[in-house]
Amino acid sequence: MKPMDKQLDRPEHFFNRELSWLKFNKRVLGEADVTINPLLERLKFLAITASNLDEFFMIRVAGLKHLLEGGVPKTDAAGLSVQEQLQRISNDNHELVRQQYRSLRGILQELEKNHITFCDVEELGPESRKWVQEYFFRTIFPVVTPMAVNASHPFPFLANRSLNLVVTLVREKGESVTAVIQVPAVLSRIVEVPYNDDVRQFVFLEDIIRYYCSHFFHGYAVKEVAYFRITRNADLFIDEEDAEDLLAEVEKSLRQRRRGQAVRLEFGKHGSKILREFIINSLRNEEDSIGDGDIDNDIYEINGPIDCTCFFKFADTAGFETLRHSPTYPQLPMELVGKDDLFDAIRERDIMLHHPYESFEPVVRFIRQAAEDPNVLAIKQTLYRVGGNSPIVKALALAAENGKQVTVLVELKARFDEENNILWARQLEEAGCHVIYGLVGLKTHAKMALVVRKETDGIKRYVHMATGNYNNSTAKIYTDLGLFTANDQFGADASAFFNVLSGYSDPPELRKLVMAPLGLREKIMELIDREIEFASMGRGGRIIAKMNSLVDRQCVTKLYEASQKGVKVDLIVRGICSLRPGVRGISENISVRSIVGRFLEHSRSFYFLNGGEEKVYLSSADWMPRNLNERVELLFPLEDPQHIARVKELFDLQLQDNQKAYVMRSDGTYRRADRRGQAVHCQHALYQQAQAAAKGQEISIKQRLQPMYRKEE
């Protein structure tokens, strides 16, 4: 491979990935301010930003702080030192948090207009207050353990992401004591208080505890109460090289996760400076704390309820249907309309699925049918995030019980799903599946299922590959593309892929698939190079690439080179983008847009004009170093011309979207796409398309009798 172009690989041509990520989270927050969105959906977006931020601190910020502590003098592609990055993250995030709570206040006001109120205990009427008092003594009191802090009781180690109260108490003699109360996570954070009117009123759990907290401390008077929340480093450190039993190793480090270093402090706005200093000092004195002053950057004064993730659950409260989107129903995939037997249909032609517009059910059925089919010999599948109560896991277990050879690659290191995955791994093992944990040092992120069937003319392989996980819950909200095929070139590659993952084989040459970390980046380079070649010959170069994040320096540099040679590049990057578009002489032929809507854009798809012989690829991998270097990922071509056309149409819609799209400018900021002209809302349009297609034949006759109107997007 050619070395990167030094002229292009310069700091001013890159954005820092963390800051770019914060901008993405700001776009998500932007959806909370879109007034045409139903109120509770807006609240949900707010909760998403909050939970995103939690992860960001636990992993990314924690990682940077760890680097800083280690004194590694490293700069990122944009030339920022670790210190500078942390400083800028802090600045941007303070602004983001302010915006978050501004939005929240706005939404809460709107909710009040809809007769939904949040109040303090003081504001409640006598009836309600009586109910709350009872709730406190019966339900809350028994599960709360206040902890005094004094010479004989050091500051307790507070769990990651737990909400706490810090309380100053005074005795009559004037001597004062400090205590900490952890808000119990087992109780609902938002408590509905019965009320006789049309209004529904809610109280925050911590507020009830605050109001009655004197009951915990007899003989003391409560002087002051403040809320705070600590976020800790939650990255797992697993020594895979020496791990005898990876399963046990992951379990062990999960127990340690709760005890990572503190990286962020959220402190209720009304707390006094003294209490605040008390908490900060206590955190600094924790055993593994990061050097002095490093939490200073990330102390956030919160003007409102701390931890907005509680609104996830609240947004689903029964009775508020009118304040939510009407539910969407994933449709029967258009390519499966009128097909009874899945295997027959796949044998006939490749089948592409587009979730969540089209149902994920056929994928579940694929495994279930395989489990029950007497001709099926073996099933192999990768599982990364399967979600709770997964029908796929059940089907796999059933298959094993039915005597099929079932091999499942469970990725134990799927972040924040580790516990879940350990559970599945055990269940599958008990059912008789051969469970493997993938390759040392690499996370298996590729999504693939393989069914081996004995048919009259020999062994036949059926393959499913996708851009998203085998998770039937997220398949309802993430946009992903999947492909079923019985083409044996893919089948043989799939077998080879699983042989590598099982440790049966050294990596072979694959026919159709490209596998990271063995040459996926090289393939991307090759594909871009080909466009450059065509552009140089005057035959036009064109690339459309959709992914979640674009960070890989080599890829970005190669795209700059393509732009310089006249290749037109449109990027649809939902999240982090470290490429700077529209810079004269560097990237003027590159556009970047981000779509943030009701469904999480998740599919990774790639279009190359290829001198007229268009190529479309789907992939599990983002163009990030971690995906291309440290993960097992797949890239696969679409071969059916209809599928290529379908994905092209998809790209057209996404590039025309002016309702949910943001356009990135060369200074790195994002602006909503120009809304003038016909409104295009790609997610909405795709959902309607899927509904129409699923209704199938008989409706289309009816449709023929309808007068034609101008198509509404």
């Binding site: 010999l377 050879q405 062994i459 077998s495 049966y504 050294d506 040459e509």
Partner: protein
């Protein structure tokens, strides 16, 4: 007509540098599909060549891999398999324990093949590949040179006949291991390496000088190194052609590069890079043996040979005869080397096979045994080259020390013993050459020897007096009716004298009857 479902077969190879499996479904030699294949690099060879043993640690690792392959087999519902082990296990002193461990831990039974067999497996696959591409029809002949980690096989094919076959204990890995690290780093290493290789293959030169315009069919894992250096793709079921100029260019490059430069320029691991020099020097020496047109590198490996042999045995295929004839031709080549009486050998073969074929149910033997008889008949007298006294003993010795493609070491023992007893004496339990055989093999030797004795008797005058013969059974009698124009008293007396042993073995009285022609 609806085709029946194809058959399934798994070939598994435990080699010195690689353990692999190939799962295939087939209807015939040409109608087959490789469903799955997997392989892992291992370092069994280095261990064996250095210490003479394979450690249990290494065996545990191999067993883990084989357990995985066992699982793979059940994923395709494969029951038929053949697990073949080559050099590393063949030469390990603890071979028996290793095989037992593999059987206990994985349930697989292991076939350890000797070098001629190993060469033959590969030759089968290679021959069929070049045959499919029409190379066998070209003039000039084909020199098959197979370099495995532990051995070098040289086989010369010309117009349907094998005219030369020699196996040498020199392989790329073995060469490398013959020199220690310090020696390999020495400035004189190249010179020493070159001389070492030359000394080993020099005896071949004399034979090779006679041939011109041959194709050099190279095989062995190291051919991939050559292709990679030429920037060629992995061979994929096809033949790769390399011109002599291309090779020379690579050779000259390699001579000037250090190990580090090799790894950098061609993207080799250090382990691979260490193999490059001995491999290229060896190739260069082979090329200087004779005058070649071009180098041909088929994609086939040992494991393909296991598959080909299995399918050939299962599915009827005319190419089986082709290969059989080549093996026989090689026996004649060996005979010529020892100045055998070609006409007599042909006559004895003819009568031996006639008797064998007519005996059918009486001897209860099959095609393999027929082939043993055939080759033993061709070579039964070659001991006369050494000495006319006890020539049968020297026949025995010469057969044992010859490389006869297509036969295992055990089978060679059988043929050598058959030759030993073709004339005088009967197998005795006091004779070491006989008692070294298993009981089953002893019986086989006796049966074949009994037949060959009668056949030899029919031309004991070396006059080919009998023009026609027929064999009939009547009760406990086998009547051999012959047509001859000259007097055949000598034949009749000899036949009668030798029929006793035949009766001892089969319980059948052999009677010679002459019909005047």
């Amino acid at each position: 007509m609806a085709k029946h479902a194809p058959d399934l077969f798994a070939a598994i190879h435990v080699g010195s540098e690689m353990v692999g499996v190939q799962i295939v479904e087939y209807r015939s030699l040409d109608d087959f599909r490789i469903l799955d294949q997997a392989w892992r690099q291992v370092m069994l060879g280095e261990e064996t060549f250095k210490t003479g043993r394979i450690s249990f640690g290494a065996i545990t690792h191999i067993c883990e891999l084989l357990k995985g392959y066992r699982r793979l087999l059940s994923e395709y519902g494969v029951r038929d398999y053949r697990l073949v082990a080559t050099t590393a296990i063949r030469e390990a002193q603890n071979q028996a324990y290793i095989i037992d461990q593999i059987r206990v831990k994985t349930g697989f039974s292991v076939d350890v093949v000797d070098m001629p067999q190993e060469i033959f497996y590969k030759y089968l696959a290679l021959f069929l590949s070049v045959h499919r591409h029409g190379l066998t029809a070209r003039k000039g002949g084909l020199l098959f040179v197979d370099i495995s980690s532990g051995g070098l096989g040289i086989t010369l094919y010309k117009e349907g006949v094998l005219t030369y076959q020699q196996n040498i204990h020199i392989g790329a890995l073995r060469i490398k291991e013959s020199f220690d690290k310090k020696q390999r780093d020495s400035a004189y290493f190249l010179q020493a390496l070159s001389e070492y290789i030359y000394s080993t293959i020099e005896p071949v030169e004399h034979e090779m000088r006679k041939h011109k315009n041959m194709y050099l069919v190279l095989s062995g894992t190291e051919t991939r190194l050559l292709l990679k250096m030429l920037g060629r793709e992995e061979p994929n079921g096809e033949l790769s052609f390399v011109s002599l100029e291309e090779f020379t260019a690579i050779y000259e490059q390699v001579m000037t590069l250090t190990l580090g430069q090799l790894t950098k320029r061609f993207g080799f691991t250090e382990q691979k890079a260490e193999m490059v020099l001995p491999t290229i020097v060896l190739y260069q020496h082979i090329l200087s043996l004779a005058q070649f047109q071009e180098i041909v590198i088929p994609a086939d490996q040992f494991i393909d040979g296991i598959r080909v042999l299995h399918i050939m045995e299962r599915a009827k295929d005319e190419r089986r005869e082709l290969i059989e004839e080549q093996i026989v031709s090689l026996a004649h080549t060996i005979g010529r080397k020892y100045q055998y009486d070609e006409v007599h050998a042909a006559d004895v073969t003819r009568w031996a096979l006639l008797i064998f074929d007519r005996m059918g149910r009486v001897h209860g033997l099959g095609k393999r045994e027929r082939r043993l008889l055939r080759v033993a008949a061709i070579l039964h007298d070659i001991g006369k080259f050494i000495s006319l006294r006890r020539h049968y003993f020297y026949s025995y010795r010469l057969i044992l020390s010859s490389d006869i493609l297509g036969f295992s070491e055990k089978e060679k023992w059988v043929m050598a013993n058959v030759a030993h007893y073709h004339d005088k004496g009967t197998p005795k339990e006091t004779e070491h050459n006989f008692t070294a055989l298993s009981l089953k093999e002893q019986v086989l030797v006796s049966k074949l020897a009994a037949i060959i004795r009668l056949a030899d008797a029919l031309d004991c005058s070396r006059g080919q007096k009998i023009s026609h013969a027929d064999v009939n059974f009547r009760g406990d009698e086998m009547q051999v009716t012959v047509i001859a124009q000259q007097d055949i008293s000598l034949e009749e007396w000899t036949f009668a004298a030798r029929s006793q042993f035949f009766e001892d073995v089969f319980g059948i009285k052999a009677i010679l009857k002459r019909n005047a022609g």
